[in-house]
């Protein structure tokens, strides 16, 4: 990844020449989450300015595991195919205690979904694709080598003090989406607390390149025989790169552990050979923290600026993408005047419970891997002792509960079921994909990618409502099983592909009311 020329060139902004513009939206930070926010807004015809201090995509790779829901979001944004083509598809994981395989799992419970449970792809590839997509869209003004020094928020706008290679200027916007990462300047400028837990442990993360035919299975060792620490994780990425995480313990010296003369022998012992090349190494301490609220007037926090988790559930980047998936259509509706401003409060109502679920799962995994007391260590070891011979204990072994999409079960935007459903996604849940019978490669999820409210109707007659997308689906196929549908069943989807309401029979008034509720117009 070492390039002598900066990939992201600086261009002079009109503000530097005295022009002041109040932009509709500013996105601060062009990491995965900020870029997704900008593309999403552009697809809703909202223009925005994106600023980032960087001149290159992120160094190393950090995130590697992208979940099915993220891929579905990226399909909607237009980068899904490129990611899946480049990424390493995987569904399976294996857990070892010592040398012994004690448990394996498959994360895709059923076949016939367009996207796999996960792909592994280096974060910089993800960012490159998203930058390419953003560059195609005229509504996005991407400003590299622009560093936000201070952020001030007023009742109806924000002002950002920006430093550039040509000097400073003030950037003004009606709304700000702060995607400026774990060390968020926005959080700092607004004086907001970022509370939670720090785990007293250190992990060596090494990406290595080697030719190895082993399948792309997530392999996790507790008490490995090749390493005297607590655990090791190994996982395949694109271009013959493999991610290895060594749990070093709290006493490890981060500067020492990063040195090649320590890293290489460690990996040689693990692999039994030295036929690899180091691509990137880093030593991390992990935390689980979040902001008390994600919306502060005209400022929204999304991604790592809003919450951070330890990475063993791959819940960081994946949850950040769900943040902007949730926010973009709402902000666009309010800016267009299609919905009242209070719709934006539902960002907190929906994403705070989702954030808490991610924090809970990540905290539990980290507590298992890094027991916080002697007795929790004893229970952890007891689970691993028992896991060899007893099935129940294998289910308690926790090496990361991997990212699943949030269900906004208690959202005020939902219209609760009035009709009886035994199955299918309830209001608040994301769409479940299914192949449509008409022809191969025709997926239900692709029919929900128009960035608009969509009514899916199982049957042949076509009721219609002005301004609402309509999708007709054969009531006998696999889709109707997954949606517990009969002829006449309708599902109303939001632009983010979550269910707003569902009925056994179409009724124009009921659909309109649910649509209004989902836009906070009631």
């Amino acid at each position: 990844m070492s390039q002598s020329q900066p990939t992201f060139v600086f261009r002079r902004s009109p503000e530097l020449d005295g022009q002041t513009t109040r932009h509709p939206v500013i996105v601060l930070g062009a990491g995965p989450v900020g870029l997704a926010a900008a593309v999403d807004l552009a697809l809703h015809d909202i223009s925005c300015v994106v600023i980032d201090s960087r001149s290159d995509v992120s160094e190393g790779s950090r995130a590697i595991c992208w979940a099915k829901r993220s891929l579905e979001i990226c399909d909607r944004l237009g980068t899904g195919d490129a990611l899946v083509e480049k990424g390493v598809t995987w569904n399976e994981g294996e857990i070892f205690v010592g040398d012994e395989l004690i448990y394996s799992f498959n994360l895709l419970p059923e076949p016939d979904h367009k996207r796999p449970a996960f792909i592994n792809l280096q974060q910089f590839f993800f960012e490159q694709q998203m930058v390419a997509r953003a560059t195609e869209l005229a509504a996005i003004d991407l400003r590299w080598q622009h560093s936000a020094r201070d952020v001030r928020s007023f009742d109806d706008h924000v002002e950002i003090q920006v430093d550039t290679p040509d000097g400073p200027y003030t950037l003004e916007g009606d709304w700000l989406i702060a995607c400026d990462g774990v060390r968020s300047q926005t959080r700092e400028s607004l004086g907001l607390d970022f509370e939670g837990r720090v785990f007293q442990d250190r992990f060596l993360i090494a990406d290595i390149r080697m030719k190895e035919d082993f399948p792309a299975i997530r392999r996790f060792w507790f008490s490995p025989t090749f390493f005297d620490g607590q655990s090791t994780l190994m996982h395949k990425q694109a271009d013959d790169v493999w991610r290895i995480d060594f749990q070093l313990g709290w006493d490890a010296d981060p500067d020492e552990e990063r040195k090649a003369e320590r890293v290489i022998p460690r990996i040689e012992r693990m692999l039994g050979h030295g036929d690899f090349e180091i691509v990137w190494t880093s030593v991390y301490t992990f935390t689980c923290r979040r902001l008390a609220r994600l919306r502060h007037g005209c400022v929204f926090f999304a991604g790592d600026s809003a919450h951070v988790v330890s990475p063993f559930g791959a819940r960081g980047g994946n949850s950040g993408l769900q943040d902007t998936d949730n926010l973009a259509w709402k902000l666009a509706s309010v800016i267009r005047g299609d919905a009242p401003e209070r719709l934006l409060d539902s960002y907190d109502a929906e994403r705070i419970p989702a954030t808490d679920e991610n924090l809970l799962n990540s905290t539990r995994s980290t507590d298992f891997m890094t027991p916080k007391s002697k007795v929790s260590g004893a229970f952890r070891d007891a689970v691993l002792d028992l896991a060899r011979d007893h099935e129940f204990a294998r289910r308690l072994v926790n090496s990361g509960r991997l990212s699943v999409p949030a269900r906004y079960s208690d959202s005020p935007l939902n219209t609760p079921d009035a009709d009886t459903f035994k199955d299918g996604p309830p209001p608040g849940a994301p769409a479940i994909d299914a192949p449509l019978q008409s022809n191969a490669g025709d997926w239900l999820i692709d029919h929900l990618a128009d960035n608009a409210f969509t009514l899916v109707h199982f049957g042949t007659d076509a009721p219609s409502i002005d301004g609402l997308n309509l999708v007709l689906i054969d009531a006998t196929g696999l889709a109707s099983d997954r949606y517990d549908a009969r002829p006449g069943t309708c599902y109303l989807f939001r632009p983010d592909q979550h269910v707003a309401a569902r009925w056994r029979h179409f009724n124009a008034d009921a659909v309109t009311e649910a649509w209004n509720r989902a836009c906070a117009r009631l």
Partner: protein, 67 residues
């Protein structure tokens, strides 16, 4: 219907069991004993299964602390 934690005597030959329990720890260090106890608790908890009963057991164990 959720069950209720049984606290009347349910163990067969209680004195024998108590002795066997202590005997199981013979020769173990404190750490080894702690880990054996943890294994025992997990096995028994799984056998009981029902969450409501397990929660009552945790609460009863905490409440009985006279130290």
């Amino acid at each position: 219907m959720t069950g209720e934690l049984r606290t009347r005597l349910g163990i067969d030959a209680p004195d024998d069991f108590y002795e066997a329990l202590i005997e199981a720890h013979a020769g173990l260090s404190e750490d080894e004993s702690m880990r054996l106890n943890a294994r025992l608790i997990l096995l028994l908890a799984n056998h009981v299964g029902e969450r409501a009963i397990l929660d009552q057991a945790i609460a009863a164990a905490k409440a009985a602390d006279r130290s």
